[in-house]
């Protein structure tokens, strides 16, 4: 008999070494997340996946599952906290959904909708963030970066290139590019890299593709991210 945990009362099997998130993803139970993508090592930074495991708040993407663990996930209390986290992400960057080509395919937007965030609550920071268009095939718009480090992990662990990294602290944190000029065009980044495919928002975009997918055929046009993920599609998959 395999070992099990329960998530909101539903029994879910897991194997040793799996996190709560792993078990949930395998069972197609949606726990909101942004910095997690099962193809990469967990990172535990966005805290959106916070659940209550045996009464204690933990990040489900990093917390190993253990036999009999009782997990609360979809409670009002947790979703209220998550909504607030997403609200903060929206005001920390410059997320202009109406003109963003990732709209409809963006996980940040989809999670916000799914958590019922319909309007901003906090004052926008309107930070000055750099746009880097120097790469011939990829556009890096830091205005939309949520510092999830998925590109950092993909470039380092899959592409073996270390193109991206985070620099600075707290609110000054920013995504940096590992090249002498700091520009993407001067790095060895290629459009075929895994790191070009994983950004959950519209911060890393392939050039000359904008808006080719019509409204109605985008990932989250007809289903919420919760529905999409409970039907087996994993985060970070490319749009087209």
């Amino acid at each position: 008999m395999s070992k099990t945990i329960t998530i909101d009362g539903k029994t879910i099997p897991f194997m040793d070494g799996q996190t709560i998130m792993d078990a949930a993803l395998a069972a197609r139970v949606y726990i909101p997340h942004l910095c997690h993508n099962p193809e990469f090592k967990p990172h535990g930074s966005c805290k959106l996946c916070t659940v209550k495991a045996n009464g204690r708040l933990v990040s489900s993407c990093t917390m190993p599952a253990c036999e009999g663990m009782e997990v609360e996930n979809g409670t009002k209390e947790l979703n209220d906290e998550r909504r607030d986290l997403v609200r903060m992400l929206f005001v920390e960057g410059n997320h202009l959904c109406p003109t963003c080509e990732k709209s409809g395919n963006c996980q940040l937007q989809a999670v916000a909708y799914c958590l019922g965030m319909m309007s901003p609550r906090y004052n926008h920071f309107y930070p000055q963030r750099e746009v880097d268009a120097s790469h011939p095939d990829v556009f890096l718009d830091r205005n939309r970066c949520i510092l999830c480090e998925l590109c950092v992990r993909a470039s380092r662990d899959v592409d073996g290139k270390n193109v991206f990294g985070l620099s600075g602290r707290g609110i000054g944190s920013r995504l940096v590019v590992n090249s002498c000029s700091g520009r993407l065009g001067d790095s060895d980044f290629a459009v075929s890299d895994k790191a070009a495919q994983v950004c959950p928002t519209g911060a890393i975009l392939i050039k000359r593709q904008g808006f080719k997918v019509p409204i109605g055929q985008r990932i989250y046009d007809h289903k919420t991210i919760c529905q999409v993920e409970s039907q087996g599609k994993t985060g970070g998959e490319e749009d087209e």
Binding site: P98, T99, C100, E101, V131, A133, S134, F139, G185, L205, K207, R208, Q209, G210, F211, K212, V213, P214, I215, G216, Q217
Partner: protein
């Protein structure tokens, strides 16, 4: 240009009347009148109040974003901006549109003009036309029209909805969709969508016909009044197809003077700045474009329905063409320069849209899936289109990294800037000079402006409407009288 109302030597000694904002136009505008003790008018000006640094905002953005981004300039004619920008981007990526892509865009554009003209005529203009310019304010609005002429109001709503439905099916959403992309479109019509539109098009043509009949009847019942209201003569500018046909989507620039003589024709718009210049005046945010060869004083012109119907040699759909001829020949051609003839020509154009839509819907290319093309990239793109309100110019430069470095937009309402000022002056002279001002009289000024269907949000690249304020201010700057109206036109003191 004539400045017979710029007679104020010491404007500070005169009292000032401000109509702000002008209602039932799209956006926020203001009229100021300078009056002396005897209510004689010394200056009449139409200003645009807001300013939004859109051309700045767009700098640094990737060109692919532009057709979607620029739509946000306007909630009324976003499709025009969407298509003008897409045409500019076609030039940047060196695309030659496939037949399917071009026809789908044309369909979207017809839908847009249909809904915009319907909105303007039925919602914004019909209260004045049906009830009279100084009729009871309480019913001089769309609700009043709905009560007195329920069929007309209902048809207006249905025509508008049909146009919006076309936009939804070609752009993905009724407002601010994404259908056109640099080099083509991102979706075709499915058979089911095509059939859905075909089902009602016969009715739309019939109602558009009725609308032409209605305006013709209203106009000809008081020909002299309608011809003379805010009358002045001017040149006209528009796009025209190579064979001289009316074409909203593409063509060469054509300008004709007040006698119908060519100033220029078949001009390649990608060098529009060789022919059209823009002048800045200290009292208005909006620029004043003029035809270079005619100079600053004489070079102003009108654009929009009246300009297009006057300028074209024919309309390529039968019913609208028949109506064009009726219009041109009406009363010995007397309506062709009339301010209020904008309404009439607007309805002829709406009929053309409906007929054009029907023609397109029978074209199999709408269902095709060869939707995109690309050629050699260039760093500059100009897109020009005939928007509902007139010629719309979008001009962009990109850098090697494919970011926008410069943008210049000349919107329809800006082309008409001088002409609207002229209309305001004429009406002020005709109706207000030396009279005690009343709401009804002030509305005459608004009627003249409204004939152009100005979109002030486009013109200033600003968004939103504001409540109305009319202030009467005396020489010392003291407020003598004040009228407040909300956006629907209801009035209070």
């Amino acid at each position: 240009m004539t400045f017979e109302l710029e007679t104020a030597a010491n404007p500070e000694n005169l009292k000032r009347v401000v109509i702000e904002p002008v209602t039932r136009v799209e956006g926020h505008g203001k009229v100021t009148l300078l009056l002396d003790e005897d209510n004689r008018i010394h200056q009449a000006r139409f200003h645009i109040v807001e300013f939004r640094g859109f051309e700045k905002f767009i700098q640094g953005r990737p060109y692919t974003e532009v057709p979607v981004l620029v739509q946000r300039l306007c909630g009324i004619c976003p499709v025009s901006h969407h298509l003008a920008a897409s045409k500019a981007m076609d030039m940047i990526i060196g695309a030659r549109l496939t037949p399917s892509a071009e026809k789908l865009r044309r369909l979207m554009h017809f839908g847009q003009i249909l809904q915009s003209h319907a909105l303007h005529f039925f919602y914004l203009a019909s209260p004045d036309l049906l009830f009279g310019f100084d009729s009871d304010l309480a019913r001089r609005n769309i609700a009043g029209v709905a009560a007195a002429y329920p069929d007309i109001a209902r048809q207006g709503v249905a025509l508008r909805k049909y146009g919006q439905e076309i936009i939804r099916l070609t752009a993905g959403k009724r407002v601010h969709g994404t259908g056109a992309i640099p080099g083509g479109v991102n979706k075709n019509l499915t058979l089911a969508e095509r059939d859905l539109l075909l089902k009602d098009i016969g009715q739309m043509i019939a109602w558009s016909r009725d609308a032409v009949e209605l305006i013709k009847k209203v106009y000809s019942e008081r020909t002299e009044f309608h011809n003379g209201f805010g009358y002045f003569r001017s040149s006209f500018m528009s796009l025209a197809r190579e064979d001289g046909a009316l074409d909203f989507y593409h063509g060469g620039l054509r300008a004709r003077d007040e006698h119908g003589q060519d100033i220029f024709d078949h001009l390649d718009y990608s060098h529009y700045w060789d022919y059209v210049h823009e002048e800045v005046k200290p009292w208005s945010y909006m620029k004043f474009p003029f035809i270079r060869s005619r100079g600053r004083e004489e070079g102003w012109y009108r654009v929009g329905p009246l300009a297009r119907v006057n300028n074209c040699d024919f309309i390529p759909t039968p019913q609208a063409e028949a109506e064009r001829r009726v219009f041109k020949e009406f009363d010995g051609g007397s309506a062709t320069q009339a301010t209020l003839a904008y309404h009439w020509t607007r309805m002829i154009e709406m009929l053309h849209c409906a007929e054009g839509i029907q023609e397109l819907l029978h074209d199999g290319d709408l269902l095709g899936d060869d939707l995109f093309s690309r050629g050699e990239r260039s760093l500059r793109g100009v897109g020009v289109i005939e928007a509902p309100r007139g010629t719309l110019i979008h001009h962009y430069r990109i850098n090697e990294d494919e970011q926008i470095v410069r943008a210049n937009l000349i919107v329809s309402t800006t082309h008409n800037n001088q002409a609207m000022n002229e209309a305001v002056r004429q009406v002020a002279l005709q109706y207000l000079d030396g009279k005690e001002l009343t709401e009804g009289l002030l509305n005459h000024i608004e009627v003249a402006i409204r004939a152009f269907d100005p979109c002030l949000s486009c013109a200033t690249h600003a968004l939103g409407k504001m409540p109305l304020e009319v202030e009467l201010i005396d020489a010392e700057g003291k407020e003598i009288d004040r009228l407040v109206r909300n956006a629907s036109g209801a009035c209070g003191v």
